[in-house]
Symmetry: C2
Subunit: 335 residues, 2 copies
Amino acid sequence: MATIYQVSELAGVSLATVSRVMNNNVRVSEATRNKVLQAMEQLGYRPNSIAQSLASSRSNSIGILVSELHGPFYGEMLTGIEAEFRAAGKHVIIAAGHSERATEEDGIEFLLSRNCDALILHVEAVSDQYLIDLSKKQTPFVLLNRQITALADRCISLDNELGGYLATRYLLEQGHRHIAYIAGPMWKTDARDRFHGHQRALAGYQLTAEEALFFEGDFRETGGSKGLQALLASGRPFSAVVCANDEMASGALTAARELGYEVPADFSVMGFDNVNFAYYTYPKLSTIDYPVSAMGQMAARWVLQQVYQQSSIEVQQIFDPHLIPRDSVAEAAVT
Amino acid sequence: MATIYQVSELAGVSLATVSRVMNNNVRVSEATRNKVLQAMEQLGYRPNSIAQSLASSRSNSIGILVSELHGPFYGEMLTGIEAEFRAAGKHVIIAAGHSERATEEDGIEFLLSRNCDALILHVEAVSDQYLIDLSKKQTPFVLLNRQITALADRCISLDNELGGYLATRYLLEQGHRHIAYIAGPMWKTDARDRFHGHQRALAGYQLTAEEALFFEGDFRETGGSKGLQALLASGRPFSAVVCANDEMASGALTAARELGYEVPADFSVMGFDNVNFAYYTYPKLSTIDYPVSAMGQMAARWVLQQVYQQSSIEVQQIFDPHLIPRDSVAEAAVT
DNA sequence: TTGTACGCGTTATCAC
DNA sequence: GTGATAACGCGTACAA
């Protein structure tokens, strides 16, 4: 591989000048610039990004930590992030955290050891305090889908409470009064927020969440099917179930069918996230849209703005969910 | 950040010795090793991976190019890859190729410019010749899901022909004789191979694929629904449809329902890939399993073996698909 | 506008 | 076993 030195030799200029035309910072005369460009061309020169990093102490790499690489959710997120950075000539290093504290901390350590210029973290298990401590170190980071007051300016998140509210309000508007709830793991803040939105919507109708109609799931399909079975087994009547995400809703749909119920004739089902398979369930899932790709993109922009000084970029920190009515919710039968 | 120099100073040894204990290659006396270790600990020393890379001309990074980051397929693949490399202390740089020639070549260029030690490529649009040329350059690479004779030792792929064969043979065994086929884009080799398998299975029963019962789709849900409509519109009777992937099968399922047909009562539907949502369609999709995560992992192992000399690792290059019977296929009605 | 010289934090090749 | 010291390829004061 040709080096900057060989280019300078061929072009008959000094090595510093070559460097200058590459980072067209300082003014270089057109004549010499062309000489250099031509020499580069001729040698098929490509800068060694590692040497650049060492000299400039910028790796031009951004570390991304997500819970999982598979599943319908994180792929969307990564798409938004990668596209934005690639266009800016930065590259993305990924690691998976698997929603476990040790693995997440490990992943962060790993990315840090890789000299990332910044981190984009979608972490769930790590403590607030850990992140606050981390914020005192050199490497800047953004938090996706998490709210920490002390770190408010680095958080990009969905208004989950509003989403939960919208879901349940929609069912109430359709006349439902006995609404069951299959929650996510309640140690996760988004799961809690969604449930709080649910409660607020109920309160607006002078209702309150019944304990018998609550089930704590795991955000996975099995949680949804188990949840539905438990709710049915409770004997407590309900005409609608809201699930804290689409995967559980899908599980609930399957379980309902297997137990001989028909959705939405026997009861309605609401999801949350609007992952892409939500359109392909049967019946098509009514849900709450989570603009995850846009949020990933926004996290990337935050980095571009804060770390790479691209000041022209605007950053939005809170995103609003909205309702996607489809076929899994019907009006409540008049009683 | 502490440097190796400060460690050497505190430990009272030379900088070279510190380097030695880090890469515990050469023998260092227990006494000095402990002194160094202790000094590292005390300073919270962490090696600068970029400087290491520059000096050793190894970036310890592997570039991954996939078609898309979202969707049910690539996420699985990345999971297998990331886990394997992370355990080996390597890191993964990702780029998306979007199945377009220019973007794919661009992505490869991008990864190359990042000084990756190796590349794992899942490319579809780039020509064989381009890859053959690439193989003559320095950076080694593996090809996932692609067979090129000249590059046979770098290919890790599924026996797509066998998969296509298994799918159709299963339907034949269930008594179906009029079998429609919704193919992937025929410029993709895997799409062609799967179709060839289909033909071979038919030939085994003295049958041949009818042109009226063939539709070329796009591997996406819309392709499946359009395909089914076209097949139905052809007027040609059939009792089963095999789709070249699960997403098209899902589209076909939805279209069938919307047009008032019942699967598998009116006709059976076969998928291919066994992506995770295949279990959550209605009816549950009978399909062919594609061990994509295992294959991703294997690609990572290839790199570990070939590039990082971890000779103890075994590499398997061809993977066999197998049948997953579920609910979308039934026996053909006796005629 | 252009060139010189040093530094970035390691690894690796010599000697000792 | 251990210590100098020269790379690695580039950025960047500072000087010219």
